[in-house]
C-alpha cells in the first residue's frame, strides 16, 4: 500500500473523475485538476469566490463549481481550458447545484426552494420546475440517466414528478400518500422508485416507473421511523434502517419484509444468526483496532442518546451494500464506533468491526467486497471476508482521516482530512506479498 503526499483542500471537496483519470480538488477559490496516478497538476482554474460545491460531469469533460453565497456557478472544461461558462442566479439566490446525467445540463435550486432552473450548455433553452420540496433527498436520477424523480409540495400535499432527462419532458406527476416526504431513490434497474416519509411516520412507498403504486410498507406506528435506506445493486433487496436500531430487508417480488437485522448491545454466539430467516450460523469475529479477535459473548459499547432532542443519535443511519450485493454494512448511531457487516446470502451477521473512536465514514470498494472505514484518526481500516488490516497514514502533521472515497477501479482511495487530502494506492502488481488477499 502506497500513500501519496498530503495536499491541501478546502471544504472536503475532492472528487475523482468518473473515468478515473483525474482528481479535482478545491483550495479556497481555486480548482486544481491533477492526474490520478502521477498527481501532477494538469489544470488550474480560478473561480470568483470560495467554492462550496464541486462536481464532475458524467463524461469527465466538465467540472461545475458552485458558490452559493454569491449565487454563481462556474463551469470549466478539461479539454479547452479557455472555455468558460458562468451562471448567475441573481437575486433569486442559490442553494444547490448539480449536473444532469448527460453532463450538459445544470440544475440549480434557488433559495427557499422556490424553483429549480435547468440550464443547458448546448442550447439557449432554460426550463423551470416549480415547487420543489426541501427535504433530505428531493431529487434523484435513475442510474442509466434517463429519468429524474423530483419531490414537490403543493397545498400541504406531496407529489412526485418524473421527468425524461433527454428533453425534460414531464412524464408522470402523482400524489404520494406520505405525510411529509423525506426522500426518494430509484432502484438500480430504474424500474422502481422508493419514496419514504419523514421520521415521524414509518412508511415506504414503492412506485413503478410509470407511476403506479406497487406497494407500501410500514413496520410500526408512532415511534420514530426511517433513518436511512439503500437498494441492493441487483435491485433485489431494499434495506431500510430505522430509529428502533433495526434494519429491515424487503424483497423485490412481494415487497414484504423477509428478514430484519438487530443491533443488540450484547451478542451471544447462539444468536449469531440474528436475522429472522437465518438457517446457518457463520463464523463470528470481532475485530478491534489492534486486530484482536475476541471470543463470544461480545459486549458492544453503547452511548445512550438524549431522547429529548430532535433527531436523536440512535438508530441505523448508514447502510451500504457491497458491489456484488453479498454484504451489507450498517452503523447504529448509539454504537457509533462499531460497523456491522451482514452476509446477504445467509442473511446473518458476518462480522462486527469495533474501533476505538466513532466511525466517521465507510465505503465499499466498487469492484470487490472490501470495506474501507475511517474514524477521524490517522488510521485507515480495511475489512474483507479474508481478513482485516489497519494502516497508519504516514504524515508528520498528524493527518486525521475524516472521509474517504474509492477510485472507480478499486485500486486507490482518496483520504480526506479536515484541510488536507491524501491518496492511498493499493498493491495490485505484487502477488507475493500478503496484500494479494485483497485482489480477488
Amino acid at each position: 500500500m502506497n500513500f501519496s503526499e498530503i495536499f491541501k483542500q478546502s471544504n472536503q471537496l475532492c472528487r475523482i473523475s468518473p473515468d478515473g483519470r483525474y482528481l479535482a480538488t478545491c483550495v479556497q477559490y481555486r480548482l486544481v485538476v491533477r492526474d490520478v496516478n502521477s498527481l501532477q497538476i494538469l489544470h488550474l482554474y480560478t473561480c470568483l469566490d470560495q467554492i462550496v460545491h464541486m462536481e464532475w460531469s458524467s463524461d469527465s469533460l466538465f467540472i461545475l463549481c458552485a458558490m452559493y453565497k454569491r449565487g454563481l456557478v462556474q463551469v470549466w472544461s478539461l479539454e479547452q481550458p479557455d472555455w468558460h461558462c458562468k451562471i448567475d442566479e441573481g437575486s433569486i439566490g442559490l442553494v444547490s447545484s448539480r449536473w444532469s446525467p448527460d453532463g450538459r445540463h445544470i440544475l440549480n435550486t434557488t433559495e427557499f426552494h422556490l424553483r429549480v432552473t435547468v440550464w443547458s450548455l448546448c442550447t439557449k433553452a432554460v426550463s423551470y420546475i416549480k415547487y420543489p420540496k426541501a427535504c433530505q433527498k428531493g431529487i434523484d436520477f435513475s442510474r442509466d440517466g434517463s429519468y429524474m424523480a423530483l419531490a414537490e409540495r403543493r397545498d400541504c400535499k406531496d407529489y412526485v414528478s418524473v421527468f425524461v432527462c433527454e428533453d425534460w419532458h414531464l412524464l408522470r406527476h402523482f400524489e404520494t400518500e406520505t405525510q411529509d416526504l423525506a426522500g426518494l431513490e430509484w432502484s438500480p434497474n430504474g424500474c422502481v422508485l422508493a419514496v419514504w416519509d419523514s421520521c415521524l411516520e414509518y412508511k415506504v412507498l414503492l412506485y413503478s416507473l410509470d407511476g403506479r403504486l406497487l406497494s407500501s410498507f410500514s413496520a410500526y406506528e408512532w415511534s420514530l421511523g426511517i433513518k436511512s435506506l439503500a437498494w441492493s445493486p441487483s435491485s433485489q433487496f431494499l434495506a431500510i434502517g430505522s430509529f428502533d436500531e433495526k434494519v429491515r430487508i424487503l424483497n423485490h417480488i412481494t415487497w414484504k419484509k423477509i428478514t430484519e437485522f438487530e443491533h443488540p448491545a450484547t451478542i451471544y454466539p447462539a444468536l449469531a444468526g440474528l436475522g429472522l430467516m437465518c438457517v446457518s450460523t457463520g463464523p463470528l469475529t470481532l475485530y478491534q483496532t489492534h486486530n484482536e479477535i475476541s471470543q463470544p459473548p461480545f459486549q458492544i459499547p453503547v452511548v445512550k442518546p438524549d431522547l429529548d432532542r430532535a433527531n436523536p443519535k440512535v438508530g441505523v443511519s448508514s447502510l451500504a451494500f457491497s458491489a456484488d450485493g453479498r454484504y451489507l454494512a450498517t452503523k447504529n448511531d448509539n454504537m457509533a464506533s462499531v460497523v456491522w457487516v451482514w452476509n446477504m446470502q445467509k442473511m446473518s451477521l458476518e462480522a462486527v468491526l469495533e474501533q476505538t473512536a466513532a466511525v466517521r465514514c465507510f465505503q465499499w470498494d466498487p469492484r470487490r467486497p472490501r470495506l474501507a472505514l475511517c474514524t477521524g484518526t490517522p488510521r485507515l481500516y480495511l475489512w474483507s471476508p479474508a481478513g482485516s488490516v489497519s494502516v497508519q497514514v504516514p504524515s508528520e502533521g498528524g493527518f486525521q482521516v475524516h472521509a474517504l472515497s474509492w477510485h472507480s477501479n478499486g485500486d486507490s482511495l482518496v483520504l480526506i482530512g479536515k484541510e488536507h487530502l491524501c491518496l492511498c494506492y493499493m498493491d495490485t502488481e505484487d502477488k507475493s506479498t500478503d496484500s494479494n488477499i485483497w485482489t480477488k
Binding site: 479539454e79 461558462c85 451562471i87 440550464w119 410509470d210 432532542r309
Partner: protein, 519 residues
C-alpha cells in the same frame, strides 16, 4: 355336711321385696344351734356389729337382747344398703342420660366441625383465586404503566421533533420575509443569466428535438419497454428457477418411490397395484404435463401432494426401521415385522456368497502366481521331459511371458510418447491463450485511444487525420460540421498538436500484423 353347703344355690321366692338367694328354714335346725350361733357371731363381728353371744351368757343359751340388737343393726344396715342402692340406681340413670346427651352433642358438634372445615377450605380456595387475580391485575397494571410510559416517550420525542421542525420552518420563514423586504427595497434586480463562451455539443452528439406528441409517445413507449423488459427478465429467471425446482422435486419423488418400493415388497403385495401404479401413472402424467404449460395449478398441486404423501410414507417407514433397529439392539428375538428380517437375511446371504466368490478368485490367482513363479524351474524339467507328456503344456509359458513383456514395454513407450505430446499440446495452448490476451489488450488500448481522442468540440484538424480516423470520426459526429458555431481560431496550438499526435499514434503503435509479432 356343713350347713353352709345347703345354702349356696337355692332361692326363696316367698320372701317379700328382697330376693334372697338363701332358704332360711334350712340354715338352723335343732341340731346345729350352737354352730349357727358361733357362725352368726363370726359374721356379725366381721360386719362390725356387737357380738350375738358371749361366753358369759351361758353355753347353750342365746342373749336375746344381743340377738335383737344385732338383728336391729342388721336391719338398719340392710336399709342403708337399700337406700344406697336406690341412690346409685338414680345416679346411674342420671349418668346414662348424661352420656346420651353428650353423645348427641358430640355428633352434632362433629357435624358442625365438618361443615366449618369445608367452609374453611372453600374460603381458602377463594382467597387463593383472588390473590391470583390480584397478581394478574398487578402485572396488567405494570404493563399498562409501561405502555403509558412508552407512549409518553413517543409523544415526547414526536413533540421535540415537531418543535425542531417548527423552529426550522420559522427560521426559514423569517429569512424569506427578510429577503422579500430586501427585494422590495432593492430597485436594481439582478436577473438570472448565463454567459457561456460557446455552446457545446450534446453528450450523445444528437441534435435536441422539439417537444411534439411523437416524442411524448416515444417516451411513453420507452417507459413501458423498460418495464416490460424488466418483467420479462424477472419472469425468465422465475421460470428457470421453477423448472429447476420441479426437476429436483421429481427426482426426490422418484428416489422416495424407489426407496419405498425396495424396502417393502411384501407389504405392498397386499395392495398390489395401487400405490405403485398410481405413482407410475402420476409420474407419466406429470412428465407429459411438463411438456405443456408447466405452470398449471393442478399439476403443481398434484406434484406437491404426491411428494407430501411419499414423504409421509417414507417417514413412517424410517420410524419403523428405527424402532426395529432399537429392538434388535436391545436383543429381543421376537420381531413384529418378519419382512425386514427376511431382506436382512437375504442381504447377508448375498454378501456371504460374494465374499466366498472373491475368496475363491483370490485363491485361484494366488495359485496361478505360484505356478508362474515356479515355472522357470519347471522349464528345465520340461526340457528334460520327452515331448508328448502331459507336462508339455507348461513349456509354452515362458514364450507367453516373453511376449507379455514385449507388449508391456511397447505400451510403456506409447504412454511416455503420449505424455510428451500432451505436454507439448498444453504448452502450445497456453502460449496461444497468452497471445490472444496480448492481442485483445492491444486492441483495447487502440480503441481506448480512439475514444479518448474523440471530442464534442468540432475538430478543426480534419485534413491532418488519416483515412481510418476520418471514418471513425464521421461516425461519431455527423451533424457537427454544419451545426457547430464557427471554429475558434484561438484554440491553442497545444490542443492541435495533441490531436495530431493522437491520430497518428494508434497507427504508429499498432504493428502491421499482430500474429507476426510473437514468432
Amino acid at each position: 355336711m356343713s350347713p353352709l353347703g345347703h345354702f349356696s344355690q337355692s332361692e326363696a321366692p316367698s320372701l317379700s321385696g328382697h330376693r334372697s338367694p338363701f332358704v332360711l328354714t334350712s340354715f338352723c335346725t335343732e341340731d346345729n344351734v350352737l354352730e349357727c350361733r358361733s357362725y352368726i357371731n363370726q359374721e356379725v363381728s366381721s360386719l362390725g356389729l356387737r357380738a350375738v353371744w358371749t361366753p358369759t351368757d351361758g353355753p347353750a343359751e342365746l342373749n336375746v337382747v344381743a340377738v335383737l340388737n344385732s338383728l336391729y343393726e342388721l336391719i338398719q344396715l340392710h336399709r342403708q344398703g337399700l337406700r344406697a342402692l336406690d341412690d346409685m340406681e338414680v345416679e346411674r340413670q342420671r349418668s346414662a342420660s348424661n352420656t346420651e346427651l353428650l353423645q348427641l352433642s358430640n355428633t352434632r358438634l362433629k357435624g358442625q366441625l365438618e361443615l366449618s372445615k369445608r367452609e374453611n377450605t372453600s374460603l381458602l380456595e377463594k382467597e387463593r383465586q383472588l390473590q391470583l387475580k390480584v397478581k394478574n391485575l398487578q402485572s396488567c397494571l405494570k404493563n399498562e404503566k409501561e405502555e403509558v410510559q412508552r407512549l409518553q416517550n413517543i409523544i415526547a420525542s414526536r413533540a421535540s421533533q415537531y418543535n425542531h421542525d417548527m423552529k426550522r420552518k420559522e427560521r426559514e420563514f423569517g429569512k424569506l420575509k427578510e429577503r422579500l423586504n430586501q427585494l422590495l427595497v432593492d430597485k436594481k434586480e439582478k436577473k438570472q443569466a448565463m454567459e457561456v463562451l460557446n455552446y457545446v455539443e450534446r453528450a450523445d452528439g444528437k441534435r435536441s428535438m422539439w417537444k411534439t406528441g411523437r416524442t411524448e409517445a416515444r417516451h411513453e413507449g420507452e417507459v413501458y419497454r423498460t418495464l416490460l423488459s424488466d418483467y420479462d427478465a424477472r419472469q425468465r429467471e422465475l421460470v428457470l428457477e421453477n423448472s429447476e425446482q420441479r426437476k429436483v422435486l421429481q427426482q426426490m419423488k422418484r428416489d422416495m418411490v424407489s426407496l419405498l418400493r425396495g424396502s417393502k415388497p411384501a407389504r405392498r403385495e397386499e395392495t398390489p397395484g395401487d400405490p405403485q401404479t398410481q405413482v407410475r401413472g402420476e409420474g407419466d402424467s406429470e412428465d407429459s404435463e411438463e411438456v405443456f404449460e408447466s405452470s398449471c395449478v393442478d399439476a403443481r398441486e398434484k406434484l406437491t401432494n404426491s411428494i407430501r404423501l411419499k414423504w409421509r410414507k417414507l417417514k413412517s417407514h424410517m420410524e419403523r426401521l428405527d424402532s426395529q433397529a432399537s429392538l434388535v439392539q436391545a436383543g429381543e428375538g421376537a420381531e413384529p415385522d418378519a419382512v425386514p428380517l427376511e431382506t436382512h437375511g437375504q442381504e447377508m446371504e448375498r454378501l456371504k456368497l460374494e465374499i466366498q466368490q472373491c475368496k475363491d478368485f483370490i485363491h485361484s490367482q494366488q495359485q496361478l502366481l505360484q505356478q508362474r513363479l515356479t515355472s522357470p524351474c519347471e522349464e528345465e524339467e520340461a526340457a528334460a521331459i520327452p515331448p508328448g507328456s502331459p507336462m508339455q503344456g507348461e513349456g509354452g509359458r515362458p514364450g507367453e511371458r516373453g511376449r507379455l513383456g514385449e507388449d508391456w514395454r511397447a505400451l510403456e513407450e506409447q504412454r511416455t510418447h503420449f505424455e510428451k505430446e500432451r505436454k507439448t499440446f498444453t504448452e502450445a495452448a497456453i502460449r496461444l491463450s497468452h497471445e490472444r490476451m496480448m492481442f485483445e489488450e492491444d486492441r483495447a488500448t487502440w480503441l481506448k485511444h480512439q475514444f479518448l481522442h474523440w471530442t464534442p468540440f468540432t475538430d478543426q484538424n480534419q485534413p491532418e487525420m488519416t483515412e481510418g480516423e476520418q471514418e471513425a470520426a464521421s461516425v461519431f459526429s455527423p451533424e457537427c460540421l454544419p451545426g457547430s458555431p464557427s471554429p475558434e481560431t484561438s484554440s491553442s496550438p497545444r490542443c492541435q498538436a495533441l490531436q495530431t499526435q493522437s491520430t497518428a499514434d494508434p497507427y504508429r503503435s499498432l504493428p502491421p500484423s499482430p500474429e507476426s509479432r510473437y514468432r
